[in-house]
């Protein structure tokens, strides 16, 4: 208790400085993600506004707090001693923000896709089904739109021969022969924590080793029905594959 008092005496500005720095860094971190376009990796665009407002708010708090400390006014207020001491709490936030600033977040990879049940065929997407239309241009459907269409009407034969034009990243599921890979995308509805993978098997002319795991590919081809693992399912017969750079925002919504 005396040690604690002593410390507070020796570094009167330490707790206040730490929390100010931590909050400021969090504000900076959010705005940094926004400016570098990485915010889309973390959350759904619907929440950009809210998150940005939080970032600006944190910066505003920091500025106000610095102004106050500048005028050498330490808080004249009751302080709650809590679960962990305030400097510890501030340091935790500070470290988390520093890690966020120093390490660039990466989009999820095939490993996460498999872990999150890409192969689970009984899993229906949460995506709201869209009306089944035979007349809409099949080559304009995105991977997610294909999945949604299949969700409404799963009969693979209904899509046989339709043109496909989709992109995504390569996953090698364990249960497919090696002339197949699964073209995959993640879908998020609010933040990366709820991301779930959607994908369609792609049938290749040769071995899938030509196309590295996690590489992004734009695929043109035709839909066909194949029986894989005892189930009739829709498969993309690839006619042309083109490597593409990873998009800035790899998610579907």
């Amino acid at each position: 208790m005396t040690a604690k008092r002593l410390r507070t005496k020796l570094f009167p500005y330490l707790p206040e400085g730490l929390v100010t720095l931590a909050l400021g860094l969090w504000g900076t971190l959010i705005l940094h993600y926004w400016r570098s376009g990485k915010l889309g990796l973390l959350i759904h665009p619907n929440y950009y506004g809210l998150t940005l407002a939080a970032g600006y708010f944190l910066l505003m708090l920091t500025v106000l707090q610095i102004l106050k400390l500048w005028r050498r006014r330490l808080p004249m207020r009751a302080q709650h001693l809590s679960l962990l001491s305030p400097p510890v709490m501030s340091s935790i936030m500070l470290v988390a923000a520093l890690i966020g600033l120093l390490v660039t977040p990466r989009p999820f990879t095939s490993q996460t896709a498999i872990q999150r049940g890409l192969q689970d065929t009984t899993l229906v997407t949460r995506a709201r089904p869209q009306a089944f239309r035979t007349t809409s241009n099949p080559e304009k459907r995105t991977l997610l739109e294909w999945i949604r269409t299949l969700d409404v009407y799963p009969e693979p034969d209904a899509y046989a021969g339709q043109k496909v034009n989709v992109d995504g990243f390569v996953v090698y599921p364990e249960d497919l022969p090696d002339n197949y890979f699964t073209l995959t995308r993640f879908v998020i509805s609010c933040c990366a924590a709820d991301a779930y993978p959607v994908g369609l098997p792609v049938k290749l002319e040769g071995n899938r080793k030509t196309y590295a795991v996690d590489s992004w590919q734009a695929i043109q081809g035709e839909m066909m029905t194949e029986t894989l693992n005892g189930q009739r399912q829709l498969v993309i017969q690839a006619k042309a594959l083109k490597p593409i750079p990873e998009p800035d925002n790899p998610y579907y919504y």
Partner: protein
């Protein structure tokens, strides 16, 4: 507020010995005990639910040819194989299974036969065994019903009071009804594909000698009720003369072909919606059809057949053009192909199949005219109505109906009616039968106001039904044509 000395002792701090129990401790622990027992009891009493069908998309529905699949939604993941094994449809309709999670789609291999009731039963199927269920639970038996649409036709009456009026005949319910008033002479009609109304052109019976350019466009509900007006005028002929019309599959847009009574204006196509008419296309004097997707128009022009966007403006360029062909006859129901007629240099005509991938295939070459052609719902067979010169008599034609099997290319002449140069052909929506008519033309004065395309009076006409072999569901066992009733231009209702 001043606090006394006693309060400073902070009695609330440091009470954390279990020996000193508070009311909250007692009630909370009691509550936890009771709830534990309750949870144990609930789990011990076991599962009182069964796998069951939560939704059947065709329950009590009337199914038509455009309905290709039903969906069964279960309340939990099912053992797919056991459902596939135990699903029964009475009478049977062949189809295939596909799954998406808890949803089963059953896709019919061919259109549902019309005029029947069906029962779907699923019994003894089990839920997927996963998790803590020790044994697979049998599902709650499920029974669902649906009905296919009635087998019914509409035609232009010929006998007695039906003469020149639209009549429907429903085989399933065995009803017969005149739709249009006796003040009108119906010339042409089309069924809105949703099947609830008929658009028709007609002239006044009081001026029965008017030519066809004086026709006006009307609409009549297919099942008139006592309260609704029986027929309504859609388009008059005050400023424009009406030539032809068609309606989009969704029934929302009507395309009419008309030309201004003021000279110097070419025949053009107009779009009629709820709002003001809009001119779609200039210089369109040929016969035209709306494609099955309702997005484009195919127009037979002098130099060929053009496809123009339905929702473009008056000067839209054709999206496609086939100089080779002369007339559009019909489309496959799924839009995958069109049937076209071509006039050959040697004065013969050919029937062509044009796929939406651009491949063309000559199906038939005739010495007379190709009048109509239709493709069956499974797009395997084309039925063609055409004429040939009757060698025994000058300037006379015989009428034929042939079936062309697309996979083998085999042609089979089904019907021949000698000495008839015009007619109509209608293939049932489920592909089960053809309708056509045999007409009697007279030059003598007749009660009849019905004329053929060259203005000759038709005094009598017989509608025939030809059962087709490639469906096993038709009620009649015989494959011979059957006389149905007196009438002309028979058309199956969708």
């Amino acid at each position: 507020m001043t606090l006394g000395k006693d309060n400073l002792k902070q009695p609330w701090i440091g009470v954390n010995r279990w020996s000193h129990s508070h009311p909250l401790d007692r009630i909370a622990i009691a509550m936890i005990m009771v709830l534990s027992l309750l949870i144990g009891g609930i789990i011990w009493s076991g599962d009182h639910t069964f796998p069951k069908v939560r939704e059947f998309s065709w329950q009590d529905q009337q199914i038509g040819v455009e309905d290709t699949a039903f969906i069964l939604t279960f309340n939990r993941a099912m053992d797919w194989q056991s459902v596939t094994d135990h699903l029964k449809i009475q009478p049977p309709i062949p189809g295939k299974f596909s799954w998406s999670g808890r949803r089963l789609a059953y896709t019919l291999n061919q259109p549902v036969p019309y005029g029947q009731s069906f029962q779907v039963t699923l019994d003894q199927a089990t839920a997927a065994t996963r998790g803590d269920a020790e044994e697979s639970v049998k599902m709650q038996p499920f029974t669902g019903q649906f009905r296919s649409r009635d087998r019914a036709l509409v035609f232009l009456g010929i006998d007695g009071e039906e003469n020149g009026r639209l009549v429907t005949h429903n085989f399933t319910q065995n009803t017969h009804q005149i739709l249009t008033p006796d003040t009108l002479i119906v010339l042409d009609f089309k069924v809105d594909l949703k099947g609830d109304r008929i658009l028709f052109t007609a002239i006044d019976r009081a001026h029965a000698d008017q030519d066809v350019f004086e026709q006006k466009l009307y609409v009549v509900p297919l099942t008139p009720t006592a309260t609704s007006p029986s027929h309504q005028l859609l388009l008059d002929n005050q400023d424009y003369q009406l030539l032809d019309f068609d309606v989009t599959p969704n029934g929302e847009v009507l395309i009419v072909q008309q030309f201004s009574r003021q000279a110097n204006e070419p025949v053009s196509l107009w779009e009629l919606t709820d709002s003001a008419p809009r001119r779609l296309q200039h210089n369109a004097d040929g016969q035209f059809l709306i494609t099955p997707d309702g997005q484009t128009l195919v127009i037979s022009q002098n130099q060929g057949v053009a496809m123009v966007p339905l929702y473009g403006d008056a000067n839209s360029k054709p999206v496609d053009f086939w100089p080779k062909f002369d007339q559009i006859l019909s489309f496959a129901r799924n839009g995958s192909a069109a049937l076209m007629a071509q006039n050959n240099p040697d004065s013969t005509r050919s029937l062509y199949l044009l796929s939406n991938q651009g491949q063309e295939q000559e199906l038939l070459k005739v010495g007379g005219y190709v009048l109509d052609a239709e493709m069956n719902p499974s797009t395997q067979t084309v039925y063609c109505l055409y004429t040939t010169f009757n060698r025994s008599q000058t300037a006379s034609f015989d009428l034929h109906i042939s079936a062309i099997h697309l996979d083998t290319g085999k042609k089979q002449r089904l019907i021949t009616i000698p000495k008839q140069s015009s007619g109509t052909l209608s293939l049932a929506p489920d592909g089960s039968a053809l309708l056509y008519e045999e007409v009697t033309i007279t030059d003598n004065p007749s009660q009849s106001v019905v004329r053929d395309s060259v203005g000759q009076t038709i005094s009598a006409s017989q509608v025939w039904l030809y059962p087709l072999q490639d469906t096993n569901t038709i009620s009649s066992k015989q494959k011979k044509p059957q006389k149905l009733l007196a009438g002309i231009q028979p058309l199956w209702l969708p």
